[in-house]
């Protein structure tokens, strides 16, 4: 008989906010086999395009996920706009950038907290979430919703941010930056954290690229994919810095996200500076006919909304390929040969979002 322990890891597990299941096969605490299974959150709402008009589907697209909600909505809208050749007003595009980046801040801070929790640093979790509340406060103040913003619409955005609010933004961002600096310093420099992250779940640059890793998961291995560089929306007018780190371990992925917090605040500053006055939406008439693979950069990486319409109010197909889905194969590679204590850390290091993944 082998000296193995088989652990049904999840679906209910305190370290996983979302249900996934992994058959963990351990020897002592070393993972010799880790086979994930998903499907607990599959709702099948892609098929709802057949029941909801393409304009109302935004509300559903937004609820793909409560963490990266805004970008889902915006990406969906941008996809439709591409098919229908709608020119979205400048201001709306900038607003989308601002909310997108706040969304990224919220997501990354949330992740930093959960990640800290996964390696048993409760105080850091609390700290990250405390800071995150500031971001949510801003969200609520400008959109009316804390986590589901609901300001996307085909042809623009549903709400404007007053110029006074935008003026106050710089100071807010400075405060935020300071707080985040204190936080990320711990993540990046504390040796007890480093001990848990360095050389854990390493994936090489080559593997990361060919296994389809995206977002910070890829960038942590030195693969500089960042869809914002492709310049959708207003991003082509902003200076997007792509953060990469070369080691490919959990520490690198953490470092990428930690540093991206500051690129996000930087982008918001740029956007606030450049945002023009003007209308925030255009009237949409007709219905989409055609198809488009709309890609955008989510906090977790490249998101693809494939939309296909046939000229009716109802789309033929919406297919959402989320960053987590494509980060799962690299995750399987990362888990090989790690320790049980590393499992939550590695799993969280790709920042999994199952709700996105399974739709």
């Amino acid at each position: 008989m082998t000296k193995q322990i088989i652990v049904p890891f999840g679906p209910q597990h305190p370290v996983l906010p979302e249900p996934i299941h992994i058959d963990l096969v351990l020897e002592d605490e070393r993972v010799v086999d880790a086979i994930p299974s998903i499907g607990y959150i599959h709702r099948g709402f892609e098929k709802l395009v057949e029941k909801r008009e393409f304009t109302e589907y935004v509300y559903i697209a937004e609820r793909t996920c409560g963490i990266c909600s805004f970008i889902h909505g915006a990406t969906y809208c941008q996809g439709i706009e591409q098919i229908m050749n709608i020119d979205v007003p400048e201001r709306a595009q900038y607003l989308r950038v601002i909310w997108s980046e706040f969304s990224r801040l919220h997501s990354h801070l949330l992740w930093l907290g959960l990640f800290a929790d996964a390696f048993g640093f409760e105080n850091l979790f609390m700290g990250a979430w405390k800071t995150r509340e500031k971001v949510l406060d801003f969200m609520e103040e400008t959109t009316g919703g804390r986590v589901i913003q609901g300001t996307s619409k085909v042809g623009g955005v549903r709400r404007d941010i007053s110029s006074e609010r935008l003026d106050r933004m710089t100071k807010d961002l400075d405060d935020l930056d300071r707080e985040m600096k204190e936080l990320t310093d711990v993540f990046l420099h504390d040796d007890s954290v480093r001990h848990r992250l360095r050389n854990v779940g390493t994936i090489s640059r080559n593997d990361a690229y060919h296994l389809g890793a995206v977002g910070p998961t890829a960038r942590g291995s030195g693969v500089a994919i960042d869809l914002r560089k492709s310049g959708y929306g207003a991003y082509d007018r902003l200076n997007v810095q792509v953060v990469t780190d070369s080691c490919g371990d959990c520490y690198s992925r953490c470092a990428v996200r930690a540093k991206e917090l500051f690129t996000s605040t930087d982008l918001i500053r740029q956007a606030v500076k450049k945002i023009p006055e003007g209308p925030i939406d255009v009237k949409v008439t007709g219905a989409p006919d055609g198809e488009y693979f709309m890609r955008a950069e989510q906090p977790r990486g490249e998101l693809v909304h494939y939309l296909k319409g046939n000229g009716s109010k109802f789309l033929v197909r919406s297919r959402i390929r989320t960053p987590t889905l494509t980060n799962i194969p690299p995750l399987i590679k990362m888990l090989q040969g790690c320790e049980l204590a590393d499992v939550p850390v590695i799993v969280l290091s790709i920042d999994p979002c199952i709700s996105c993944t399974e739709r």
């Binding site: 008989m1 082998t2 000296k3 193995q4 322990i5 088989i6 652990v7 049904p8 890891f9 999840g10 679906p11 209910q12 597990h13 249900p19 299941h21 992994i22 058959d23 020897e27 002592d28 605490e29 086979i35 994930p36 299974s37």
Partner: protein, 646 residues
Amino acid sequence: MIFSGGSLVHILDLLGYLILFPLIAAIFLLFERRDSSRSLIVQLSAVAIGIVSLLLLVLGYNRDTLLYAVGSEQVGQVMFFIELLMVAFILYLAVKHRKTLAAVLVLLQAGLLVWFETSLSHGLHVANNLFVDQFSIIMALIIGIIGTLICVYAVGYMETYHTRHPEVRDRRNIFFAILFLFLAAMFGLVFSNNLLWVFFFWEITTLCSFLLIGYSETEEATNNSFLALVMNLLGGLAFLAALIWLVLSDPSGRLLDLNYLLTTGKALALVPAVLICFAGITKAALMPFSSWLVGAMVAPTPVSALLHSSTMVKAGVYIIVKFAPVLSGTTEGLMIALVGGMTFALASFMAISQNNAKKVLAYSTIANLGLIVACAGVGTYNLMWVAILLIIFHAIAKSLLFLCVGTVENRIGSRNIEDMGGLIVRMPRIAIMMFIGMAGMFLAPFGMVISKWAAIEAFIQAPFGLIFIAILAFGGSATVFFWSKWMGKIISVMREQEVLEDTVKKEKWVVLWILTGLVVVVCLIFPVISWVLIEPFVLNIYGQTAGLAQANLTIMIMMLCLLMIMPLSMLFYRKGPHVPATPYMGGRPMDGNMHFAGSLGNSREVVLSNYYLEKMFGEERLFMIGTSMCWGLLLIAGIMLVGVML
């Protein structure tokens, strides 16, 4: 000649009886092939031997060392002759199995023996060939009670063994004959005052163990038996060297009188002491030689029980403890103690990485022998006390564990600890016995912990004691680890398992219950044992003696009682309706068959194994470290010894 104050029985008769009676039983058993009468002979002999050893206790406990002049030139000659026969026999087997090293060693030994006999033995005269003191009474009790109990158990065991292993040639008559021969040799060893006699019996145990280990005649068994042989022969050579040295220093042979040697003082005794301790180290399977004991686990379990709890290895530590006063305070003694200490720590560590139950027991044995030797090597009076305590507790608990494992192995067909999951359901009584046996090995307030505790208190007053305290602290914690995880395995409750226990034979139960009872009772009455047997012995040698503080004893006995009444709380919980909850499985429910729906559409079984921490406590790595360090220590001792000799 000393008569036992007016009583009808002469102690000398008891000694003779104890040595010779098993021999006679052995001869009967050799020619008895029927199961029933074999069983009868074994049981009757066991009872007889047991009673006589108790009698010895009753008559002899309150006396000083008693010396007896028995035997004569002729006995010596007979012994020499038998030794030559043994040499020839071993040589034959060594040639047959192409074991060059064994052949070389045995030839060397034969050469030395012949030389000794022809040129040195003239004019040797040892007045008192036999003796008895409290320590040998303790040893006799261990051999006479535990040893024979194991033999009784072996009858049933071997029956099952042969049905389970039809490929093994049924040579049970020889097997049992050897077992009893072994007992005879052990009695001889602990009662002999003449070192030539001690050597003779020493060699017989070597031979017997060699034969027993190789019983199944598989290649592995043969190889391991030769491994044991080679190492023991090496020890035998050292022993012989000691004898030669003694005779050369005093051709009258007076120094061969053990009692005389020990009382004449260190100057003369140190060299032979170290040589004999080296022999003891090989026999007790301490570090550089530990592999033979581990290898010996291929033998049928009663053999392991006999060899590793109450006899063979105990002969090794017995002789070292005997020489403890000589070693005390010497650098050589310290080296030997360090060998023991290293062995204790490393063997405890290695036990962590084993999942073979017998190997765990083997390493635990090695560890405990190491501890005994560490105590003896430092050799202060209170450590001597501890060492003897350890010998007693270890013998009882370990034999119980070996026999339990044997029983389990016979039922479930595996000696892998991982297969013992849920034993508490499948074989509840055996599980409880194992539980008590293990508790005896590492839990307060049972025997081994009492000894460990006493050892700490004793070491702290001894020179260089800090090293040993550190060793005890680290090694001791490792002990906790491997015993507890095994315990945990036994009691983890899986559902839907059949009870396998009903088929266990009655006489086995009797043996097991007696041993279990002994583990507990000896704990309870150990103050008496200490007071009656150990303390006088130590007092006799050192002029002072040790013991645990009265307050502590009371508390320990209270704890033991508490521990025994705790299970009664179960009665309370059993009443009332009880629907068992399901274990937590992360939300994936498990069916009664321990399966849950896994990934990839598979159904998986929940499997739980203990940790083995191979990276840290792997056998190979630690063995390498231990062997080289212990060789180093022995080398230092050797060099110093040469210095002394010159």
